[in-house]
């Protein structure tokens, strides 16, 4: 899908937008909301003093605060951009100060298990519309964000059917205003799909980098030196934020273990083909996987450039 060429909204669709947690995602939302005029006032709420100081320096929010009341009062939409394990506590802290008609959303990578952590805290008249933008890099913190992070990417919303349609529409409008394509599905289905597209790949990447780190004979220095032969791709994913990923695995364990089971079955078959020298089976397996990448590129979810477009030495 093509990137959108976004115009600023004439009147901001949100009066006051509160972003809780100014990491990669939160700070990107702040930048995009400013850039595309999606909120009259952008409030950055973070309990880490160093992060607040940096956000103020960067000038990406209108209000920077560590106080839940100041962050929540009079806001139209709160987006919780903290690790999945911290979402419940963040919601509980803000809940007493939310006005009726306010909307609470988040960007967490697990949807099922976490609803129970938020919903009970919310007062009547406050809608919960959870979301998950499929976008990011391996970097963390307020300096890592950028305004176009969501442009041309998908954002999944998982509102139960009973959710106020107007609230869902407002959250959808925010994401579309940042250039994202929005799809809605059940929390359970989300967690199932993300287990294979995201959680299992991260588990595998963390694992193989760990295996390499433990080798005696092939020393670590050789692994690092010769990493360009494939290994270095895995290290990017395995450099992602440890707290965020710990929380994802703790909260989506059933879907992850189910996908891991399938992965292991397939890996046993592949290992058997290697052991028995079954070249025909290997070739067949290695051929069908190419088509998937072609589709991802065709749908605009990946660059067509070789090697992810990694910089090449110039031909001098």
């Amino acid at each position: 899908m093509p990137e959108l060429h976004l115009a600023e909204a004439a009147t901001p669709p949100l009066g006051r937008l509160t972003i809780v947690g100014l990491g990669l995602i939160g700070s990107s939302i702040a930048r995009a909301a400013r850039r595309y005029n999606l909120a009259g006032t952008i409030v950055a709420l973070d309990r880490d003093e160093a992060v607040r100081a940096r956000v103020a320096e960067l000038g990406i929010a209108d209000v920077v605060t560590g106080d839940p009341q100041a962050g929540a009062a009079e806001t139209d939409l709160v987006i919780l951009c903290v690790p999945v394990g911290a979402i419940g506590a963040a919601a509980a802290e803000l809940a007493p100060y939310l006005k009726p008609g306010a909307i609470v959303s988040d960007v967490g990578s697990v949807k099922g298990a976490v609803v129970a952590a938020i919903q009970p805290h919310l007062p009547a008249g406050v809608a919960l519309v959870r979301g998950h933008p499929i976008a990011g890099t391996e970097f963390s913190g307020p300096d890592a964000g950028f305004a176009t992070l969501f442009n041309g990417r998908w954002c999944i919303l998982t509102p139960p059917e009973s959710t106020d349609a107007a609230a869902v529409a407002r959250v959808r409008a925010l994401w579309e205003g940042m250039g994202a394509n929005v799809e809605t599905m059940s929390a359970e289905h989300h967690d199932h799909v993300l287990a294979i597209t995201s959680h299992l790949p991260h588990l595998i990447a963390y694992n193989i980098v760990g295996t390499a780190a433990d080798l005696e004979e092939a020393t670590q220095s050789e692994v690092i030196k010769f990493s360009a032969s494939g290994f270095r791709d895995f290290t990017r994913i395995a450099a992602s934020d440890p707290t965020m990923w710990r929380d994802i695995f703790l909260n989506n364990r059933e879907a992850v273990l189910e996908m891991l089971g399938r992965f292991n079955e397939d890996l046993s078959a592949l290992a058997k083909a290697v052991r028995w020298g079954d070249g025909e089976a290997l070739h067949a397996m290695f051929t069908r996987t190419r088509a998937i990448r072609r589709s991802i590129v065709a749908q605009g979810q990946e660059t067509a450039a070789p090697d992810f477009g990694r910089p090449r030495p110039p031909e001098a």
Copy 2:
């Protein structure tokens, strides 16, 4: 390690250089040898007529031929750039026409098992100096190559101790002339190191992409749509040439299965931590893997740019 700023050699160190198989690697060697004036005459030998026609069109070789005798006669250095499983046959075909003092080399990703396929074919006075450049992309064919592919990358040579030192020096000079850093080690050690830095990562990537392709509930179209959450990184590796990779696994099976065994042990421990909700263990495992990526970036084997430097939508 910094990229080299290469100057053309004043006099080419090789009179005649024959490249057998004009794929990604072979055509990159042809381009680099021309660019940096490393051979008086560059001969491209390929048995595929379509490849020969394209190489002639691209103008990256002085002589383009499908005839082993024309390719081998009077040449100083032959580099076999064909899949590992085809190296023995290619060497056998050329051997009768090689002059005494000629050198035979290759670029194969497996070193141990394949020596036996080449050495018996070579006449007396012809040295075998095997090599493996740690460089490439997921693309194949003569159009995919480029002159700076080896610049700042490593090339491993695996000559037995009995090999003529002058022959090793000439092969080393060719790679250094193309900007590569050269290291020598035993074929056995090479295969062991590459099993973890390259072969196992490819096996894992092919496997997870295959697992995703087989899912019923989460349809393929959703996997493709939401691939940007991690999965798409794996599809790049799993888009590599199937014949090349079949041959690698068939020829380095012991080292690959040994590394796979370690990987599986670690994965079982990780799965157990997920199942039992051991957040502390997960966090510890996810923390130590970050350092390895930092070292790879520090040593110039990886870009420091987020997301491999994938193109971002411009802030319009």
